[in-house]
Amino acid sequence: MKAKTVTTLQYVTLTAIAIAFVLPLLWLLFAACDGNANQALKIPHIWTVKNFKSVFSSARNVRGFGVGLVISVTQSAIVVLCSGLAAYPLSRYDLRFKKAFMFSILFMTALPMIAVIVPVYKMYLTIHLLDSIWGLVLYLAATALPYAIWLMKNFMDGVPIELEEAARIEGASTLQIIEKVIFPLMLPGICVTFIFTFSGSWGNFFVPYILLSSQKKLPASVLLYQYFGQHGEIAYGPLAAFSLAYALPSVLFYILSQKFMSKGFTLSGASKG
């Protein structure tokens, strides 16, 4: 085959794949803005925001989004704080158990934690953490922690120790060094860790579905499931609008994290010369 034919074929194949991939998404966008949406993809006759209005005029839905936000923000804050603290000794000191510890952390990042949910349920029942937002937040934090520690430690490795030493020679206290040197340089790393953790728990349906039961404590992900998972009469328009609003933070955070990642870390230049 001629090179030109091959290239053309590749363009055609890629276009076909891209169309196939984008169709379910287009349905979501169109159905959300269509007053008469159904299962099939169609361009709305009249574009409308009434689906969004009906979703957010329900106090239950607004509450679901609020609860989800509280869960994800609290969990991410705990994870960032704990992993940030842990990253310092792991990056800076020569500790005998460090290698074994980092290996265990890597091992833990890959474990399918879904497998332990039944014992967690029983444990929470015993210690009265079932149907508790705090209980949920702590469990989500612990399961997100290994990956966050791994990330933070690598980001911390990228902050040159020379800057810290220089500040110490100038007479800065440890607290000042953390505030003025480490924190600003770690900021991109902190943001990336926060974003990854937040997206993970914001998109998580399984854990809140198991550990929470009161209607007023359910986050948006579980509400969404209740609206269509029971396979009753489905109002596709409002459902699509709900999903779109719910998916938006995940999409925005993904784009944001790409920005942080692509900037790269050129901090090592600071210690030269």
Binding site: A40, K99, F107, A110, P112, V118, P119, V120, Y121, A142
Partner: protein, 295 residues
């Protein structure tokens, strides 16, 4: 101060103080559940019925019970089909998208890329909804087929496993694409061109040059996809609930049904334990492949 053994220990202990909050969280909410999983799987733990009041050690009883239950074998079969279907689809599609995208028009790439990524960035439950509507009898898939005069297919009832596999491929392909894109970028173009100049066909270059160059990436990507696919619950649960019958009842769903719906916690835990062991094995292989020198 002389560097005696005890002074080094004291120094390391002092320096590790900052690890305390993380360690506390990990021990209580990560490691204890794993230990409980091992422990409970050997007990008759239940929430209702006679066993609930008479909690004791039962040895391998739970394992004997679940393995003599035909549902267990159905769920293993469903898990394997779901796993291999997803792996094959995601890897092959992901690889060829990455391979074809190389050296293509920049604008074209920046349009195709996000189309594939969209399904990946979405939360799993939204993916479930999009695919649920897409494969509905009145959905987009059948509307497209009707253009070729093909009668509507009740996807979720007639081909439930194929449908959830396709949904998972939609969700997961972007990850493989990204992995293979960065691997292919590192394959030296000189080798590739040299092979072409020497008269190798495109297919020969792909099989003999490119694939061997990225074989480590293929292995790590496969392991990560396996671990991710083994943990899929929400997607299947929301689309089919494990049914119809037991058609899409993968092990996580069987575990949920046994442990939290029928309240046979001991049996549910035993299923979880098997899942955990498979996961741990894959995780070790993955670490071996990765060889983290940095740690």
């Amino acid at each position: 101060m002389p560097h005696t053994k005890s002074s080094r220990f004291a120094r390391e202990l002092r320096q590790s103080v900052l690890l305390t909050p993380s360690l506390l969280l990990l021990v209580v909410f990560f490691i204890v559940p794993i230990i409980l999983t091992v422990y409970y799987s050997f007990t008759n733990l239940a929430l209702t019925g006679a066993n609930a009041k008479n909690f004791h050690f039962v040895g391998l009883y739970n394992y004997q019970t679940i393995f003599s239950d035909p549902k267990m074998w159905q769920s293993i079969k469903a898990t394997l089909i779901f796993l291999f279907g997803s792996l094959a689809g995601q890897s092959i599609l992901g690889f060829f998208i990455a391979y074809f995208m190389k050296k293509k028009n920049r604008v074209f790439r920046s349009v195709v890329g996000p189309c594939i990524l969209a399904g990946w960035v979405m939360p799993e439950i939204v993916v479930a909804l999009c695919c649920f509507a897409f494969y509905d009898t009145m959905g987009t898939a059948n509307a497209f087929l009707s253009l070729f005069h093909i009668a509507p297919i009740p996807w979720l009832y007639k081909h439930p496993m194929l449908t959830v596999v396709l949904a998972n491929i939609w969700h997961g392909t972007a990850f493989s694409m990204l992995t293979y894109q960065s691997a292919l970028d590192n394959v030296s173009e000189d080798i590739e061109e040299a092979a072409l100049v020497d008269g190798a066909s495109r297919r020969q270059t792909l099989v003999k040059i490119i694939l061997p160059c990225i074989k480590e990436t293929i292995a790590t990507n496969t392991m990560l996809n396996t671990l991710q696919t083994l943990g899929v619950f929400s997607l299947i649960w929301a689309m089919t609930g494990g049914g119809p019958g037991t058609a899409t009842m993968t092990m996580p769903i069987y575990m949920y049904n046994q442990g939290l719906k029928n309240y046979q916690l001991g049996q549910g835990t035993a299923i979880g334990m098997i899942l955990l062991l498979i996961g741990a094995l894959c995780s070790i292989i993955y670490m071996y492949l990765l060889k983290p020198e940095k740690a």
